[in-house]
Amino acid sequence: MRLTHLILSNIGPFRGTHIIDMTSPNSATGYAFFAKNSRGKTTIYNAMRWCLFGEARERGKIVNGKRIPGSIRPIVGDGKILMNDSAYEHDDQQEMSVMLIAEGKNGSIQVNRSAKSTTKFARTDEQMKVSLDVTIGSKPLVSGKNAQEAIETFFPRGLERFFFIDGESLEEYTEMMESNAIEGLQDEVNAVLGIPALVKGSDDLNFLHQTLKSKIDKTSKALKQSTSARDDLIAQKRVMQEKMATVSKKQNDLTTVVGKLDDTLEKMNANKELAPLLEELKSLETQITLKQANLVEAAKDKVSESTKAWKVLLWSRASAFHSELTAQKQNADDCERIIQSTKVEILNIEESINVFKGICETCHQPLQNIEKHKSKLQNDLNERQSILARLESSVNHSPDDLIIALGELQKLKPQPDWKERILKSEQKWKRMCNDLESLNEQKININSKVSEEAKSSAGELGELKGRQEVMVHRRQQELREARKDVDFAELELKRLERLSGNTSQDKESLLLNNIIGKLQVAIRDTIASYREKARSEVEKCASEVFVKLNNSPEVYTGIKVDKNFRTQIRNSKGGFERSPSSGLTSMMTISVIDALRQVSGIDAPVFLDTPARSLDEEHKKDLLDYFWQSEGHQFLIFAHSGEYNVEETVREHKGMLAKAWTLTYPRDHSSCYLESCLSTDVFYDSSSKKYSCQSCQHEWNTETKETIVSEVKL
């Protein structure tokens, strides 16, 4: 495959569309991009990886002999992005694309990958729609996943690192190749060996083998299960028979009980005319029971109220006693008052008699008839004493006695409503008695119409019917359960019948499994043999390259590649170089990588970014001399100004170089850089920081960071 055109649009520092024409009139294979840092060398390198594989990664790391891949560089977003900053920030719709056009064995190849924002301003790659279109020869255009698969046919992803070589990462390869590395270049080698699809074929066979084995195991298991199921089936058939017998027995039981119930119902039907009377009797009995309970309550209430009845009776006469005693007490009180006042009067009269001096107490004149006056006082005294004696003799009971007696009587006094309450409770009890009596009469009346025998028979039949109904319900339940058991047993029987069916081991599967096993062994042997062959080829090829690249081929005679693809430099003494220079090591690494690439058989260009890192002048030259001589394969280097001088390189490798370009920023030019002009008559305006060509009027701003691609005249 030979690249003819690379078209970059709004990627990295490439603003707008840049068409890099790589067609060459001669058969030279060397291509070079020269630039200072940040002018877009690595961008072109990454643009091609993105175009082919849909991602461009940062440089990876080797930690403890294992490769840790770098992170994927986003198309848009914060930090370092793939899209051109100006296009991302200023364009109405952010869009970026890379197109590769090449000539392959099957005709023209065209790969176009583009990313378009789905929103006004895409902030993440999720908001970018990436599309891929591939055309190979005369085949129709394919897109998306199919397009990616089409790329795999001419540029396998697994071999990417043999074609996109990062000089900055050479040390990582070196570390992996050294004898103390854990896995050496296992991944790389496996990728190379995977090309004939042997490994994939082996994986497919493994899968087939596993599937077949699983099927055979399953059949074996089924066979075992089948044998076991046959035994279980016989047992289950016995269980089934027992369950069926149980159902049959339960069915008979139910029929018997239902028959008995029908008999009972028939008998009850014969006594149908008695039914209402019996019902009434039942109802009456219920009413009587209730009434009896109420009557007991009423009787108890009457008893409770009756405890006060004697007071009501006594008081009907004792109230007169109470009134009389009250009157006696009043009299006694009055008497007592008069007695006391009479006593005072007697004392006064007695005093008057004792102190009498014949002087009138009113006018204080001497009295004429003293004796008469004295006699009058004595009569008054006698009269008072007689009254006092009469009063004292008339008192039968002292007021204190009367108070006690009244108190005793008071205890017998009933409350005013007692009589009414007692009579009410009596009436209530009587009413209840009458009601009960009436109910009893009704009962007797009905009883007289229904013979005891009929009554007893109806009662018995009723009870029997109840019992039989319960029994029927129970038997029905049992029958249902038994039928359910039969259903379950039947299901189990069917399952066992299925399991015990004609299962036999598939002979074809066994045969196929055997063949696959043999094939696997063959493939494993082939891979081992191929690996050994590849190792031998890589060793041979790498040694040839190394001899060409190193500047002391007589001392460093080749490269030893061990079975794990770890490498060492052979010296002329038949030993290995213990501490090779960094340049020599880089040469060894490049040699091995190129050897692997050659062994892979892939016909594709090689891209080498910062190729001459850690190489001395002589090795740098040897490197280009070797790679640019390779027939057929394009070899593109992306070199910064410190690695290779443009004029010198062009001069020294004339005839090897097909094309070369410089990548610059506008500020790198102090004369007109347009190929058609190249005038040195320019004017610089320091205020606007712009140059303007006085010949062609072309202007360029020294502030902008947009790469200018200029082809170097060879």
Partner: protein
């Protein structure tokens, strides 16, 4: 003041004692019968009440049976019968018993005529 009468014992002739004993409500099965008294003491009080109300006494016939001090205390009714006791030189229990004898007899007659005991509260009141 004259001397207080003796308390004596409340009693009834055996026949009437038996009668009023039957008027005591003993259990639920007595609900349908006219047995309005909680104890024999209440039944005796009722009979005494009836006799006293009509101020009629009846001499007790032998044999007799007492009510029991726990069921009836004659002293509680001294105010009502003291004078009679003094006049007739009888104990309180004796006079009260005569009143009750009459009352119980009246109760028996009333019941035999189909009446109910508590109606007696009304009839003579």
């Amino acid at each position: 003041m004259s001397e207080k009468p003796n308390p004596g014992v409340a009693e009834l002739s055996l026949e009437l004692h038996n009668f009023i004993s039957q008027l005591v409500f003993k259990n639920d099965s007595d609900a349908l019968s006219d047995r309005p008294f909680e104890t024999i003491g209440y039944a005796f009080r009722f009979a005494f009440g009836l006799g006293f109300r009509s101020n009629t006494r009846k001499a007790l016939t032998n044999p007799r049976k007492d009510i029991g001090v726990r069921g009836f205390r004659p002293e509680d009714f001294m105010t009502l019968v003291e004078d009679i006791c003094i006049d007739e030189k009888k104990s309180l229990g004796a006079v009260i018993s005569e009143y009750a004898e009459h009352g119980a007899n009246e109760m028996r007659n009333h019941l035999s005529e189909g009446g109910s005991l508590l109606q007696l509260l009304n009839e003579s009141t």
